[in-house]
Symmetry: C2
Subunit: 745 residues, 2 copies
């Protein structure tokens, strides 16, 4: 039937129709329900039809059949689908295709026949144990089909009531297989996934290939094989896929525990967590203060929820995609998050949410989230903690001996910084000071600044923020103990600090004691059509220099204090965002130096500091030679650089980006893996131009790509000094950086 | 006093204080009210103070004074302000500065002395007439100060009651001056602006330089001088600043007419117009239908007002900047517009606006706008029409003989296309089909399409739009008579076609017979945070291919019909916007070719067509080699390319862009003059990469830069085939293109 269609080009429906009629007349549903006689009759009908349609007999000579099949494979290379596929994927037509001709063995010729699959080590734990299943008197597809239950090949995993193990039934073949296992592992120097068939007591190997495995197994197998002398340390480092490590770094659900899944959303940030449901950031914070574990459930989150997200064990949102605020922030915190869970309906008024099946969860009810699968479960499901020593620790030691790229972290709090240090971070590559602006009482001072009518008013408000910001930096510097710390000055547009709905505005107006109308007018005047491309970053500071002045003072006072009083060695790195034109940086750098030098003089200590910029706009990359004259370091902000280079808003792309990735219009989500062809070209250009002007300029990356393996390798190849990523991705970046070194040889 | 400050570095306030005290004691206000004796006394006081402050006498030796002054000029090169200025403007310090030492002549030594200024031709009309003014017994500053009224130099402009002309008073000097006029024009081959002084009957020339002139004078002088054999045609072409032409291409206020200015806004689109005030686009259209001239007054305009803007003589808005919707669209239409006029308060409810002085204008009252100055005037002020033949026509004939760049126009209607052809456009470089989506009843069909639940519903709605779109293209092709026409397929995000306020949504829901809730939900689901970077352009067509299918069908049916029935020669150019990745284009081009070829087959005619793309995202420019494989032409969309390269939203930049330009952080508004360093680098790269893949690829530009002189010259230098600009800027682009050729020699 397939031959007629694929080789003879007979319309597939023609024979299918005959088959359907036959099944109908026999009153059966499945092809396999037809008897041998039925099939014989069917074949005769098929042959007649083929002759009728094509004008010649169905070829019965096996050689003729074989040549026909070979010809069909070759000509498939030039069919319309293949041509389109090649055109879209830039595959030259002249490559051609190959044909593999094999003879068949049969595992279903009696009870001295069998078929099976095996892994040379346990693919789940990595244990050095021959792990496999087989079926007597069966073909390969029977193992997969699930009609008969395959049995373990070796008897020690045998449970009462099981059919006998292959070790018992076909001991000679089993022993032969064990020997082959050894030969294959020695030859391929890796765990193998093998398929075999036994035809009348004779063992045939059908296939062997490197076996898929869990992260845990990958690490264990690699480290074990070094100990066994099979592979070198470098080979071991190449054996673990960096992205896999993510599984190892978060708590995960105990695989043996029972669970009741009540909803499913997007697996937005890995890990598992249980806690009582709360519906507001403030509630989360209060509960955390008295030691309760909570899950923050929101329709979606905004920057004002950050303190609650910090306090919670996990975050669940009803709306938003993999790149929504909740998802991005949670990943940054290494906190588990299920986002865009359309299965639940959140009702803030009654403080409850309803799952798809109608089950209602009230404030205080316990749920469990699995951020690696997107599952939401009723009650508490036990979790297991990650194991970062043992084989993992050994592997990472080798990794650190190999890599050239430094790995820093994106962190805004002492807590995150400590987590990152524990994961091996060698400094902070991006501290986003605006996160500090939302915390506690300072948001009120920030709003006071925004609403101030004049410079004096703004300065009065900034004076209130200064000691708090200084405290933030003291905390960070202490945790980082002299490691480099890059602090980015205020970046978002001011309207992000103000409420937007009428009710919120009224409430805030009352709280601040200003007329709601004034507040509303301010919110309106700050409104932007495209905030991503708006009045933010260094543009804010060019028009309101007093904001950065305060921040630079806070940074330098914190550094000077620790240097003077506690003997720290700190070289603060002050980073000015969203520069597109060198003159912006020239002006702001001069301002910053004036303040910094004055603080240094006031403290009477010797302190070095660096002033640099983000390269996150195409124009910055294109004019990096000019910008480098004013910058002591560049940090490539590839999140925004991707948005501007593609003209693609991360907040809005949800409507078509998944479709683009699925259709392979984009090879992958460019916000996950750096687009090396386009965005990467600008990064490379920025490096080259920057070094042309200032050969010793420090170059790093602080977009989320800094923690994605293929992007980290790209950063290595173009010669960056460091990557910076969220704390939980630091080990991934370390591993990728080591692999990049090994791959270039 | 100035010497003490500038040369001796004495604080300026010190002597000023003595002067102020002296004036106070004499009870006078102006320095010039002090008597000679007062001044003598003052000088003595100054000298004493200088000695007291500096410890040495004020230098009285002229040579010493001169050397002091020379030294001060040289050392000014290294002061802080000069250093900063040089750093910001990339001027090398080693250039140094020059000092010019001149001896003085005196025009105020008696009645045989005089001083004056003159233009060798009339700077306002260009007439070959010696135009100048003088004062007997006076120095240069007396002419400028306005205390005495200068007299004409020649007697034929003499009016009764005037003081005698120089021709009468100092006839020998006058004759000498007339001869010098001739010598200078022959030498400099340009109209001169001269300053002269007569000391005791002896004529001294103080200065001569090329004189500033109006556009009209520039054209006339250039063309006359060719006739006089003074300059070549090429030199004449170089003599007129392209931007100046703008003055000549629009009606302007009769300079002799009286006017009452009641408000002032931004000069958003040049020209002058009078008409009755209306407050809605529909009213404008109705009034225009019965032959009334109207001025459309709005708080701001939106795409739904386009038909009213077309119908009106001019547009006045209370809000929005030079790049607001009203300003951009009005410039495109060549219609006068005063935007962002904060002096007026518009009240739609009572159908009136109030000017700053309290004057109220009701619907139907007549006002006049001057879009070149931003003035709003009461009543009708007479205007004069532009003169496009005569010297202007002659100059443009030379221009067209020189230039290599083709000049096309951005036009969406037969009317605009005709205007552009009259201005010399050689095709349409950008027809924005979305403008057609807003007109008349089709907006309802568009909304029906957006609200449709499925593909079938969308197709039904699109079927209604098809004949209307086809009609649009028939109109355009007919006006353009075989010249190239580039049609851009739908570009804006769908939410632009839906209303946004609750009231508008409710009204539309009633009109469409759908539940307001459904409409509201759709509006909400289409909302974007950054629509500029959102689901629009080719991204819409990748997800909803049926929209472009309809548009391609409409284009091809229109073309085939005219070719078949009326013998036209048309090669439609179909342009796909917002491509960032070649696969988008590959998919959409295949779709478009399928439809186009089918229409061609249906009509049974031979038609060529081109499919190309906008290069308007940095990634498109960076990957132009790949994109060129699927594009037969590129049109650089430098508006969007500027927005994405700078990360700068044109709609939001008003808050800081004027400050940036004023502070010279940006050399000019990058939405007006193409940023050659950054954005231009991408354009250049796009050209080079595009030609590498497809050597004969057609290259053009269709951003607003296509009508700005420095940008047009850049386009010439990097080898584009054409520029495209709004109809009224076509002559500017033609002239700039010719100058670009002449400048490269
Ligand atoms: Mg950024
Ligand atoms: Mg565009």
């Amino acid at each position: 039937q397939m031959y007629s269609n694929v080789v003879l080009n007979l319309d597939g429906d023609i024979l299918e129709h005959i088959l359907e009629k036959m099944k109908e007349s026999r009153g059966v549903h499945n092809d396999t329900d037809l008897t041998a006689d039925d099939l014989k009759e069917l074949v005769a009908l098929f042959k007649t039809k083929v002759k009728e349609e094509l004008g010649h007999d169905f070829p019965m000579d096996p050689k003729e059949q074989l040549w026909g099949a070979i010809g069909a494979v070759f000509s498939s290379w030039m069919n319309a689908r293949a041509i389109t596929y090649r055109r879209l994927n830039n595959i030259p037509a002249e490559w051609g295709t190959a044909v593999n001709v094999q003879s068949m063995v049969f595992g279903n010729m009696g009870d001295d026949c069998a078929t099976g699959v095996a892994f040379t080590r346990d693919p789940s734990t990595g244990e050095d144990y021959f792990y496999g299943e087989y079926l007597v008197n069966a073909q390969g597809e029977d193992v997969v089909a699930g009609i008969r239950t395959p049995q373990p090949i070796n008897k020690d995993k045998h449970k009462p009531g099981d059919l006998p193990a292959m070790e018992d039934v076909l001991p000679d073949c089993y022993q032969q297989l064990v020997k082959i296992r050894d030969i294959l592992e020695k030859h391929y120097k890796d765990m193998q996934d093998i398929e075999f068939t036994i035809e009348k007591h004779k063992l045939y190997m059908l296939q062997t290939r490197n076996g898929k495995r869990t992260a845990k197994a990958a690490v264990k197998i690699a480290v074990d094989m070094v100990a066994e002398g099979l592979i070198s340390e470098k080979e071991a480092v190449m054996r673990v896929a960096p992205e896999q490590l993510d599984q190892l770094l978060h708590p995960s659900l105990d695989p043996t525990a029972a669970k009741t899944v009540v909803a499913k959303g997007l697996p937005a940030s890995p890990g598992a967590a249980s806690g009582q449901v709360v519906f507001s950031a403030d509630d989360a914070e209060e509960a955390a203060k008295i030691g309760l574990k909570v899950i923050l459930v929101r329709v979606e989150t905004s920057p004002e929820d950050i303190h609650g997200m910090h306090a919670a064990q996990g975050i669940l949102t009803a709306r938003g995609g993999m790149t929504s605020h909740a998802a991005v922030v949670a990943r940054g915190m290494g906190k588990c998050c299920v986002a865009g869970c359309g299965d639940i309906k959140v009702d803030y008024a009654s403080q409850q949410f309803t799952a798809k099946n109608g089950l209602v969860f009230k404030k205080g009810d316990v749920i469990t989230l699995d951020g690696s699968t997107g599952e939401v479960m009723q009650g508490e499901v036990p979790t297991v903690q990650p194991e970062l020593t043992g084989e993992f620790g050994q592997l990472m030691e080798w990794v650190d001996g190999i890599r050239r790229l430094k790995v820093r972290t994106n962190a805004d709090t002492p807590h995150d910084s400590q987590v990152a240090r524990d994961f091996g971070a060698e400094g902070i590559g991006l501290c986003r000071t605006e996160h500090m602006f939302f915390e506690g009482d300072r948001i009120m001072a920030v709003r006071e600044m925004i609403l101030a009518a004049d410079l004096d008013g703004r300065k009065r408000a900034l004076d209130k923020i200064l000691p708090m910001q200084k405290g933030d930096f003291l905390g960070l510097f202490k945790v980082m103990k002299g490691l480099p710390v890059t602090i980015r000055l205020l970046d978002p547009p001011l309207h992000e600090f103000l409420p937007h709905t009428d009710e919120e505005i009224d409430a805030l107006a009352k709280e601040m004691g200003v007329a709601a109308q004034i507040l509303k007018a301010k919110v309106e005047s700050l409104h932007e059509f495209n905030p991503m491309l708006g009045h933010r970053g260094c543009r804010l500071a060019v028009t309101y220099p007093e904001i950065y002045d305060m921040q630079v003072r806070a940074i330098m006072e914190a550094a000077c204090e620790l240097i003077k009083n506690e003997g720290y060695e700190i070289v603060p790195e002050i980073m000015i965002p969203l520069v597109g034109e060198v003159k912006e940086l020239a002006i702001l750098r001069a301002n910053a130096m004036r303040i910094a030098d004055q603080v240094i003089t006031d403290y009477g200590v010797k302190v070095d500091y660096l002033i640099g910029t983000m390269i996150e706009l195409p124009r910055a990359a294109l004019t990096a030679d000019a910008i480098a004259a004013e910058a002591e370091f560049f940090s490539f902000g590839t999140n925004d650089l991707t948005q501007t280079t593609y003209g693609l808003s991360r907040d809005d792309a949800g409507k078509f980006l998944p479709f683009y990735v699925e259709q392979e219009i984009y090879p992958s989500d460019p916000f996950v893996a750096l687009d090396q062809v386009g965005v990467g070209q600008l990064v490379r250009m920025g490096c080259e131009l920057g070094r042309k002007t200032r050969p010793n300029i420090k170059l790093g990356i602080c977009g989320e790509h800094g923690g994605e393996a293929s992007s980290v390798k790209f950063c290595h190849r173009i010669g960056l000094d460091y990557v910076s990523c969220s704390p939980f991705r630091v080990p991934i970046a370390r591993l990728a950086a080591a692999q990049a070194v090994l791959e270039e040889k």
